[in-house]
């Protein structure tokens, strides 16, 4: 029992000296030491380390050793991989023999040949220099009208995003971007709320158009972050995320005001231009397809396959509806044209198809 306790304590040198059995062993080792120690085999291949000296060490050892092989793994050198590779063998030897207590958390990318990554961007640098640059560009893109000349350099902003992503600021940058756009959209929403009803539809259309236009530029600027952070880490897509922001912060808040106005405008010719109407309806459908349910007829005018598909059982009903429409048209003065004249080829088509049918019938 005493022995097992000793092990659990890790077997300090004192404990070992007190241990009866161990003392016996010490003697046994001594007695064994009298014959010449076994000779190490002569290294055959170049990879064999010279063993003679190590052997001597091992035979002489009595207490717990501060071993070569038992030591902590060689610590990373300050130089980084590339320097390490250059002086591979020598550095390896040094690293093995001289373990330093400094643990390094990550590979130091300072030594990279990359000019982009030469300087470490701290979170303070990010906040004081990099984000403000992006912030300004995003502001400009969000507030200009579609089609305006954009004086911003793509290369500069992209490089800025790229550097931040490579220096592990993706998470912060993503959250800053979302926060910034959310704030902007809340402001847009408030402005819309203050609009008089006669301008409401047009202003909503402008806001939607402006935002979608801005995304045309903002999304490409952040493709590096999208690819190497949002897609891989969050399994999402930046464009989808940004569209969702508009849905949540603008469209959802206005849909119940907007829809009656749209229905009213639809019933009144030329109150709203057809293109505005088409933009808004298509836009709303993109944001949230379920909104169709609020006005299926309106949506069906701009988006195909909204209304339920034709059903065979109701064919006679469709025919009756068409006949009713035709009667109404005739009553209103629209003529059906000369029914007596067949177009050239009609008869031929008819004949050939019937010939086909009959030949099939004979088989």
């Amino acid at each position: 029992m005493e022995e097992s306790m000793e092990e659990e304590e890790g077997g300090s040198y004192e404990a070992m000296m007190d241990d009866q059995n161990h003392n016996n062993w010490e003697a046994a080792v001594d007695s064994f030491r009298s014959p010449p120690p076994p000779q190490p085999s002569i290294p055959v291949s170049a990879r064999e380390p010279p063993g003679g000296q190590l052997l001597a060490v091992s035979v002489e050892r009595k207490g717990p050793k501060e071993g070569l092989s038992m030591g902590p793994p060689p610590p990373p050198e300050a130089n980084g991989v590339i320097m390490m590779l250059k002086s591979c063998d020598a550095a390896a030897a040094v690293a093995k023999v001289a373990p330093a207590p400094t643990p390094s958390s990550t590979i130091n990318i300072n030594t990279s040949t990359s000019k982009f990554l030469m300087n470490v961007i701290t979170i303070e640098d990010y906040k004081s220099t990099y984000w403000p640059k992006l912030d300004g560009a995003i502001d400009q893109l969000l507030t200009q009208s579609p089609g305006d000349y954009i004086p911003i350099s793509y290369e500069q902003i992209y490089s800025c995003v790229y550097k931040c992503v490579c220096q592990q600021h993706s998470e912060q940058m993503y959250s800053d971007l979302i926060k910034k756009i959310t704030n902007h959209l809340e402001r847009v929403s408030k402005e819309l709320q203050a609009s008089p009803p006669d301008l409401y539809i047009e202003r909503f259309n402008v806001a939607l158009g402006q935002y979608m236009g801005a995304l045309q530029s903002i999304v490409p600027l952040f493709i590096y972050m999208n690819k190497f952070y949002i897609e891989t880490k969050l399994n999402r897509d930046l464009k989808d995320d940004l569209i969702k922001l508009f849905t949540e912060h603008v469209a959802e808040k206005h849909i119940y005001n907007l829809m009656p106005l749209l229905l009213e405008a639809q019933a009144t010719p030329f109150q709203v231009t057809p293109s505005t109407m088409a933009n808004i309806v298509k836009g709303l459908y993109t944001l949230r397809p379920e909104w169709v349910q609020m006005a299926p007829t309106l949506f069906s005018k701009f988006i195909p396959n909204i209304l339920p598909p034709a059903v065979e059982a109701e064919l006679s009903e469709y025919a009756a509806q068409d006949q009713k429409l035709q009667r109404e048209l005739i009553q209103n003065g629209f003529l059906r044209g000369d029914q007596s004249r067949k177009r050239a080829g009609d008869e031929l088509t008819y004949n050939s198809s019937s010939a086909c049918a009959s030949s099939r019938g004979y088989r």
């Binding site: 022995e3 092990e7 890790g10 077997g11 070992m16 059995n21 161990h22 062993w25 046994a28 080792v29 064994f32 120690p37 085999s41 290294p43 055959v44 291949s45 052997l55 060490v57 091992s58 050892r61 717990p64 050793k65 071993g67 092989s69 038992m70 793994p73 610590p75 990373p76 050198e77 980084g80 991989v81 590339i82 390490m84 590779l85 250059k86 063998d89 550095a91 958390s105 990550t106 590979i107 990279s112 040949t113 990359s114 954009i150 004086p151 911003i152 350099s153 793509y154 290369e155 902003i157 992209y158 490089s159 490579c166 993706s170 045309q216 490409p220 600027l221 590096y224 190497f228 891989t232």
Partner: protein
Amino acid sequence: MSAEEMVQIHLEGRCYPVSKRKLIEQSDYFRALYRSGMREALSQEPGGPEVQQLRGLSAPGLRLVLDFINAGGAREGWLLGSRGEKGGGVEEEEDMDEVSLLSELVEAASFLQVTSLLQLLLSQVRLNNCLEMYRLAQVYGLSDLQEACLRFMVIHFHEVLSKPQFHLLGSPPQTPGDVSLKQRLREARMSGTPVLVALGDFLGGPLAPHPYQGEPPSMLRYEEMTECWFPLANNLPPDLVNVRGYGSAMLDNYLFIVGGYRITSQEISAAHSYNPTTNEWLQVASMNQKRSNFKLVAVNSKLYAIGGQAVSNVECYNPEQDAWNFVAPLPNPLAEFSACECKGNIYVIGGYTTRDRNMNILQYCPSSDMWTLFETCDVHIRKQQMVSVEETIYIVGGCLHELGPNRRSSQSEDMLTVQSYNTITRQWLYLKENTSKSGLNLTCALHNDGIYIMSRDVTLSTSLEHRVFLKYNIFSDSWEAFRRFPAFGHNLLVSSLYLPNKKET
């Protein structure tokens, strides 16, 4: 047909022409740039060629990427393949250039988002660039490349581990739940299908149970469904043929075969490892001591070669350094003993010292590098095999000789026994015996729910020894016999390894 529209890319005062169509096709950067409607996307002054300014990239890296784009994307043999792995005489200077060029290339390809080029890198991972590629993949967030490097490093684990640069990558875990790279790789090696593999000098010819074509194979794998043995698509390396009394152990799903003696009674120190994921044998560093009839035990990701014929020293192999170092020796040289790992310690049981029977159970603790007398037993055992599950050691076969007053059975080799020894309660259990099978010169391996044993039948005394293949189920304490023995032969070793799943290969 009009001439292709060209774009001049400016970098550090130099100018690189490239086809605009190919640029937009291959580079997500330029595709997004032209879509963004920003300053550079608008047509510049008419007449002159379009100019795009880039900053911060390295010129050689950009040139390589633009060459790739101008060539119209991935082509056979392009890029790293042309300067793939070289022979032994690689100049360090060249390697250095290659590494820095690689990082410049990856940066330019990442910045310009040339996806097809980045994709091409996945098939270019080699032993001499996998660490650098992995680092670059981390820096530039290339998760596919990172995965490809990890897969490669799992397959070539020990070769990668022994590179001095590995420790720069294997950063310690950042958070408590995180595991180090080394640990991740080690765990990933334990995947695939566990398969029993038999090694030995099998005899061919008409007497063999399976008529193999040509030379009889020296490595066979067992298919449990059909209860059949099939040759592995590899054989023992020539210098391991006819080596007896070697030590063998599994470490990180490598089968190590170390030391032994040749028929000419020469002891050897050489060490080989079989990597089932590549189906290759590698020669690793030789031991400092030539030894045979010793025990090789894997503990804490290291191997320990314990004793041998008239040898008491012990040496330890660390795959991280690919080197053997002497550690605390056995108190005495032992013969006909056995050893195994159990709960991070090594236990040595049985055999003879130079003077007497060894009745002691010795325990070696790797962290304190100390041998201690664990317990003295009253049954003498020799020539047994040992495996362990949790805190229980299973002693398979061997020759028992009870010395206490209440002796149970006489010494007999015509019996195969299984006993267990619990290292916590220190309790011995006599589990099972099989009186018609030999307990000597057997080979066994822990596999799935049992100990698979190859031994010989002692009831038949024909000119050829009758071999048996059976299993001791440790949960039901029962025997299970298999009809098929791999082949007639000698010097057999049975081992359990993870072979790669068929679909992965």
